[in-house]
Amino acid sequence: MLAFLLVLIPWIGLALFLLPKAWVKAGAVVLAGVEVVLFARALLAPLGRFLATVDWNWIPSLGVHFHLSLDGLGLFLVGLATVVTLAAVLTSPRDRGAAYYFWLLLAESTAIGVFTALDLVTFYVFWEVVLVPVFFLLGGWAVGPARSTALKWLIMNLFGSLFMLIGIIAMGVVHAQETGHLTFQLASLAHTTLVPAVAPWVFLAFLVAFIIKAPLWPLHGWMPPAYSDAPAPVTAVISGVLSKLGVFAMVRVLVPLFHVEMSQAEPWLMALAAVGLVYGAELALRQKDVKMVAAYGSLSHMAMMALGIFTLTQAGLVGATFYMVAHGVMLGGLFLILGWYEEQTGSRELRTLGGLNQSVPKLTVWFQIFALATLGLPGLPGFAGEYMIFQGLIQSNVTVAAVAGVILVVAAWYMLRLFQGAMQGPRAAGRPPGDLTTPQVGLIGALGLLVLVLGIWPASVTSHLPTLAPAGVHQAAQAAHRQGGERA
């Protein structure tokens, strides 16, 4: 029930259209705040079955259930969605109008739907509806060629997801032919085996959809314009929350349904992610635009999560899931900071900036904390996630682990280059920009606190995660894993 409420409440945002203009933002803050409170309720006290799950026989004629559940895997990503959306709503300008806030809330609702869905069609419905609010956010409020940015986002993502729809229906139809019972419940479909002629194609359909949504190299074409042209709060939501949909779906859907295909294709998948890892880092190093450094850095981080998932080991999967949550908070915060930075300086060009650390000490401090967290400093959550992913990588593929190790160094390089270029060095000419206001410090301080908690106490998340690694895959690695006495 709680999961359903979390999905439902943002839709009350429709009422924002009825409010007087001055009250719209306050209304949106209330709704986003209620979401955070609901998540806190789910986190702090154990949920009974009634609160945790809804499983309604939605469309019996099609065998579709409306099945949402706040389980250990999705719980923290739901939390991520609520927190980042609240931050995004709080940092948005007051005069944006009801439509903007409604679309922002709707993006939250559909993201939570994806994180909690346990029926493939329910999953697909949210997966696809999430495109609509972002389409309007990009089309309506992005700078530059907003219309083509929005259309690119929509068409690329739908390209992937519509083929996935064929895959979903194929799973259901095959299951029905085997058992005589049409269903799309993930738990039932996990026992369905497709014929060998079809299985790789269906697997590919799912994989491509997830890769596009994440995005991972080489299907990230929609990402650069979307991240760079969207207003900062929208970028924070896209990079912090929505980019996690793709990698989360790999853990939720791909691993249980296709672990056989995944382990067969593992070298290829690893190679794909490794190339993405290098590519993103390399491009981040070359960017002259502060936002694009973070955007390509994020592309590289997504590849790191994908690597963790493709190991199919418990450590890798747990690490990837933890990294999703941590990365969402870190990147969300980082993009908000960059947004304020741009607001104050009027520029995003690294070359024209610099030396701000004297005039804006508060901005500098928080910028530094988030930059260090993102580059994986021990004690901060980036490190904990990467550590677990490395553990999985060493179990399954040492070569890729070595590549990833090199990239960690590059990651430190591009983040420090960003910080240095923007904040340190000689003062750029022009009027000194203003520092963060107290409300801004409060907000970013809260996010920073969250980052610290995640960094110091990763078990706050990982201890909730269920066994993710599929049984029967990498048995040798699993055995070694157990001998090592590692706590999962």
């Binding site: 509806v129 389409f135 929509l154 729809l165 064929i166």
Partner: protein, 463 residues
């Protein structure tokens, strides 16, 4: 037995009553429109409360739940057409009777179990539409009427020739007597082929679609709206009926052929819709593409496919009615052409109109939580159950093209600029509200409608 075909009878009596009323009242009176609307509504209520399953004269007249569904869809189209055209000064007193007559034609196609009856229904549907298509006294209107008449007569001739060959091959005109052959012999194959071509013309399947854009553009918008929904309902219903009842055993033959045509129609129809600037032409091409979607269900030649084809007519019909209603409102009484540029800034000028149009476009694009998604979902299921993977992929490719088609007008609505502003009337307002709410309702909670529709197309012998 006594209730048999009552909705159709009510509708037919309604035509006569409307004609008489039109003769008795002043020319500018709305009374004939009221007659048409009330009798159509009465027929609709009767159809919704009727449970019939009677096959008369050895299967010549098939009054079953399938024909009821066809009747309901047709009556929705007729009523929408009447409400959109609620302007006696412009459309004249004979408009309602002609519209109802066309509707009855589509209903006859729904219960026809015999080629003669099928032909009768087809002509009853087409003849009034030839007149209505030409009722706009502009060069475009004349072009539309003439083109529709010539192509229509041509396709009727083909269909009739096919029927004659089938009669020659089997000695019967009744669908159920055709069956019981796995391999279609030459004469019968030729007959079936020509029959299909005749019906595919009406359904506007490529390559038999050339008339559609010009006729849709030139006809008055209420007529276009009816044509886009009602004509397709009649043609698709008859096509599904004749194939399922007459040729179920030779399904592998025609299923394959129709599958190819469906893929061609879906993809090419949406592709050509992409560069259109005139909204009516864009919707016409989208109608071609959507006819391809319906054909996917028929080509699957299994129960799920048949159900999907019948069901898809409703989401499509509601969405296209909605879109044409927006065109009707924006074009105003002068019937000025509505282009994509006319939509500029609509979201800020007339937000409710924009919401209605947005719902139509989302549904046509097949976004979840609208009816169009449920329809496409079901169609893909039918194609996969029939092992027609290529058709399923074709549908998906067409849908991706369709996205670009349907989201371009949406972007125009939110773009800054001065476009057209229209005035709601009571009639257009009703159609807009009912179609939009229906689309959303079926999208969010499809079970009641879905169940009712698919139960009536349980042609279980197909698989």
């Amino acid at each position: 037995m006594m209730h048999f075909l009552e909705p159709e009878i009510v509708a037919t009596v309604g035509i006569l009553a409307t004609l008489v009323a039109a003769m008795l009242v002043r020319p500018r009176s709305t009374v004939p429109y009221w007659f048409g609307l009330v009798f159509s509504a009465a027929a609709l209520v009767r159809a919704l409360t009727l449970h019939q399953s009677t096959h008369l004269y050895g299967g010549v007249v098939l009054g079953d739940s399938y024909s009821i569904v066809v009747t309901v869809f047709t009556l929705l189209a007729v009523m929408a057409g009447l409400l959109l055209a609620w302007d006696p000064e412009r459309y004249g007193a004979e408009f309602p009777a002609l519209m109802q007559l066309a509707g009855v034609g589509a209903m006859v196609m729904g219960f026809a179990g015999n080629l003669i009856l099928l032909f009768l229904g087809l002509e009853l549907l087409s003849l009034p539409l030839y007149v209505l298509a030409a009722s706009r006294r502009t060069p475009l209107g004349g072009e539309a009427g003439l083109k529709y008449l010539l192509i229509g007569a041509f396709s009727s001739g083909i269909l009739l020739f096919g029927a004659a060959l089938l009669y020659g091959a089997t000695g019967s005109m009744t669908f159920v007597n055709f069956t019981a052959v796995h391999v279609v012999p030459g004469l019968m194959a030729a007959g079936l082929g020509l029959l299909l071509v005749g019906l595919l013309y009406k359904l506007a399947i490529m390559p038999f679609h050339m008339w559609v854009p010009d006729v849709y553009e030139g006809s008055p918008t209420p007529v276009t709206a009816f044509m886009a929904f009602g004509t397709k309902v009649g043609a698709a219903a008859a096509l599904l009926r004749v194939l399922a009842f007459g040729f179920s055993l030779s399904a592998a033959w025609w299923g394959l052929m129709l599958g190819y045509l469906a893929v061609l129609t879906m993809i090419a129809g949406n592709m050509v819709a992409l560069p259109q600037r005139d909204l009516k032409r864009l919707l016409a091409w989208s109608g071609v593409g959507n006819a391809g979607y319906v054909l996917v269900g028929i080509a699957s030649h299994n129960v799920v496919g048949a159900q999907a084809a019948l069901f898809y007519l409703l989401p499509y019909g509601l969405a296209i009615l909605l879109a044409f209603t927006v065109v009707r409102i924006l074009e105003g009484r002068e019937e000025a052409p509505v282009t994509l540029a006319s939509l500029k800034g609509l979201a800020y000028r007339q937000p409710w109109l924009a919401v209605g149009f947005l719902v139509a476009m989302l549904s046509l694009a097949g976004i979840p939580l609208t009816a169009g998604f449920i329809g496409k979902f079901y169609l893909v299921r039918g194609a996969i159950a029939a092992d027609q993977w290529g058709v399923a992929v074709g549908l998906v490719v067409a849908t991706i093209v369709g996205l670009a088609v349907y989201f371009r007008p949406v972007q125009q609505m939110f773009a800054p600029g001065e476009g057209a502003t229209g005035r709601f009337t009571v009639g257009t307002g009703i159609v807009l509200a009912v179609a939009a709410l229906g689309t959303l309702f079926i999208g969010i909670y499809p079970e009641p409608v879905l169940h009712a529709v698919i139960q009536s197309a349980r042609f279980t012998w197909l698989h």
